[in-house]
Symmetry: none
Subunit: 453 residues, 2 copies
């Protein structure tokens, strides 16, 4: 029996197993679910071992363990690294769920449950693809390493450090991540670029204590006015970031990329409506998709200082804190941009205030060469399984694990997801389109067979 | 027994009573203290009635009542209107207080408590002066009306309207306000000018809900960046407010005023040290005192929006709120400046955000004629009680009620305060120098005796 036939014949069991997987409330952000997160890890490890893979839980300092499994009996053949995560987002607001988030429910062609799409359903499709080949052929045509982490939804604090120290354990020829979606129903998407991030906290201090603004206004330095000048000064009138040499390393998208983006079925009006805005301002001279995917930017995420209660307290506050990040694109480097940012912020600070900048998080941007063999093979498979040539897009967010694969393992990553744009990730009524689950399994089977041949 | 002897002999009771008064947490800005504010009003009314004055609480629409009392048994004699307030500022940041703000504590010669100086201690000194005369002489040598409001720290929304409608009830020959301080220890001060105030809340709204800054950064309007541009744009590089025609009505101080200010024992180094700052930035071309007293200015008092917790949440927030005020000087008018401010703010708002401006408080600036009889008598008493000729200064803060006395009652106001420059008004560890409490009582006794003779 072929792997594809096996997958076909075991669909209903696969779906039942996925339902068991998503019924475990492995919410990594909430301490009360620590036991559930561990239960999901154990359950998944059991699955992988049941497919005759060698597996273990890798503990992380004070965190949720990595599920690791491997099958390395194809000497001379390439090694594929598969990444996913078994933890899920919290479920609030609970009352907006039509069916309970951890009681997987089928309505129409969709399976509703927290984690159904992000990422349990997707990573499980990949695993069921492996099982189909192993059970039908008795072996894989290449070597496989699987890491499924339990801290993605809290920013993956543990796995990054672990990769820095134990990267050799993950040595491979390419990586595969299914943690995204199609561009639109019927239109598969392969992501070839991810933005990086430098996330900072800027604290501005003025007088040593809050002052009466009547008595001292006009003489005392005001940290809120000062941080406003700083934030305002970080962009010019054309929406460009003023940090020196900010754009120096920015690589233009290739003409092919630009052309393909222009052809995407992107509806600006629908986009504005989804965001609840009238216009999409930003860096002049670039389209919305290019600004989100291929242009670096700067955003303040939060700010607090002084009197924020009701009414009119007339203080000149002593301090204010703002969170400000920059999204980076190839070939900007987080470490360089951060240094330049700190200098610029201090230069923008008006007379009389002290400024302290703290780096809270950072990650480099990533580009995957669309011509890399695994990407090309995946593109061919996409057409066979999903009936359309995939679009090559970038993603405005950061998937720092892919930056790690790029910089530490020095391998390309195939970013090929099976979700749909309306799958309600991180929101109530998360779902996974069941036909996409089966097509995901088929995608992985065909991909492995073709890349190894 | 003379009134002065009476005051001397009852010092310790007066201090105990003041401690009882400041132990009532009458924070008018916080709804949870509404009951306490009322309690302070009742307590004070009881005091005034206990001195054989006729008193009542005057309710204000949805606000805190005015404590009103009068003694009008001196026909043919002038009528003195005494004003003060029994509400106090909030106490945040609480952890910076050495002793709890509502557990009055004596350290050295100072009484530490919220409201000790601003304004409970000062208005209570005036009241104890009245009591001393009434108890020792059995009568006052003039007529007295006392109003003590409970909304000063929230901008006196109720009393202004009330005065506009019921000004005749306050008809008088002059007013007395003790809600300030000496210029320096040993140097009494009579204030002949007060800045006005326009206090606003500016709300900036972007997307209808918080957005993922990776996915949408570069395309979505960011209200925190926008409010920063607005605040930064409200002043130019020379520290001048950019609101159109902001300076058009500003009256230059007289040459005499300027000369007398130059002679004041103002130590810039000590001032900077007191504020905990290295330099006093501000409008170029003006000295520190002139900037604080006779120049209008603009300050942000607080700001909050987006993610302000620990760590790095990558949102583009949906909204941000900032509190921004302008201090006004003669002959600027609050109503004109507010209109011009709203226009300017909307003009400064970047594309893609909505801006709403709300007026939280406002008051016109005031000038008092230094040659008015009550001011001259007060100056003589100042020398007798405090041992030095008083300096005539202006005050950077606003006492909008004085503007009402000026415009509605058309009488001059004696602004003679008993606080010290380091009394920490509106800040942690507010205090009142106890000898000044006693001298304040003596000042009022002598003033009343001399003005009526």
């Amino acid at each position: 029996m072929s792997a594809l036939t096996y997958a076909q014949e075991h669909r209903s069991r696969f779906l039942d197993e996925l339902k068991a997987f998503v019924s475990i409330p492995s919410v990594s952000t909430l301490p009360q679910h620590t036991g559930d997160v561990r239960r999901a890890a154990d359950w998944l490890l059991e699955q992988l071992r049941g497919m005759d893979m060698t597996g273990e839980l890798i503990p992380l300092d004070g965190g949720h363990p990595i599920v690791y499994a491997e099958w390395r009996n194809a000497p001379g053949k390439p090694t594929m690294l598969i990444y996913g995560h078994y933890d899920v987002q919290p479920v609030d607001p609970l009352h907006e769920w039509t069916s309970p988030p951890f009681e997987p429910t089928i309505r129409g062609d969709d399976l509703y449950a927290r984690g159904a799409c992000d990422d349990k359903g997707q990573v499980f499709a990949v695993i069921k693809g492996l099982e189909s080949i192993l059970r039908s052929d008795g072996a894989l045509p290449l070597n496989v390493k699987v890491i499924v982490e339990g801290e993605e939804e809290i920013g993956s604090p543990g796995i990054y450090k672990w990769i820095d120290r134990h990267g050799r354990k993950l040595a491979c020829d390419f990586a595969w991540v299914s943690d995204g979606g199609l561009f639109a129903p019927g239109l598969p998407m392969i992501t070839t670029g991810l933005r990086g991030l430098v996330y900072t906290e800027v604290e501005v201090r003025g007088p040593s204590h809050d002052l009466h603004s009547g008595q001292h206004g006009g003489a005392a330095p005001n940290p809120v006015n000062a941080v406003a000048s700083i934030i305002a000064g970080l962009k010019d009138r054309r929406g460009r970031v003023t940090v020196p040499r900010f754009y120096a390393a920015v690589r233009e998208p290739s003409p092919e990329e630009k052309t393909s983006w222009e052809r995407l079925p992107f509806n600006e009006e629908a986009y504005l409506k989804e965001l609840g805005i009238a216009v999409a301002p930003g860096e002049q001279g670039f389209g919305i998709l290019e600004r989100r995917w291929a242009r670096p930017t700067l955003d303040a995420h939060g700010i607090v200082g002084g009197w924020t209660g009701a009414g009119s307290k007339t203080v000149i506050p002593s301090r204010v804190v703002a969170k400000i990040s920059m999204r980076l694109v190839p070939d900007q480097r987080a470490v360089t941009i951060y240094k330049s940012f700190v200098k610029k912020v201090k230069k923008l600070a008006p007379e009389g205030v002290e400024v302290e900048v703290r780096e809270l998080a950072s990650g480099d941007p990533v580009l995957v060469d669309p011509k890399a063999k695994p990407v090309q093979v995946a593109a061919g498979v996409a057409k066979q399984v999903w009936g359309a040539d995939p679009v090559f897009t970038r993603e405005g967010g950061s998937v720092p694990i892919v930056a790690k694969f790029d910089r530490v393992l020095k391998v390309p990553t195939v970013l090929f997801g099976f979700g749909l744009p309306d799958d309600n990730l991180h929101a109530p009524n998360e779902k996974f389109h069941i036909p996409n689950f089966y097509k995901g399994i088929e995608t992985v089977i065909r991909f492995i067979q073709q890349i190894a041949s």
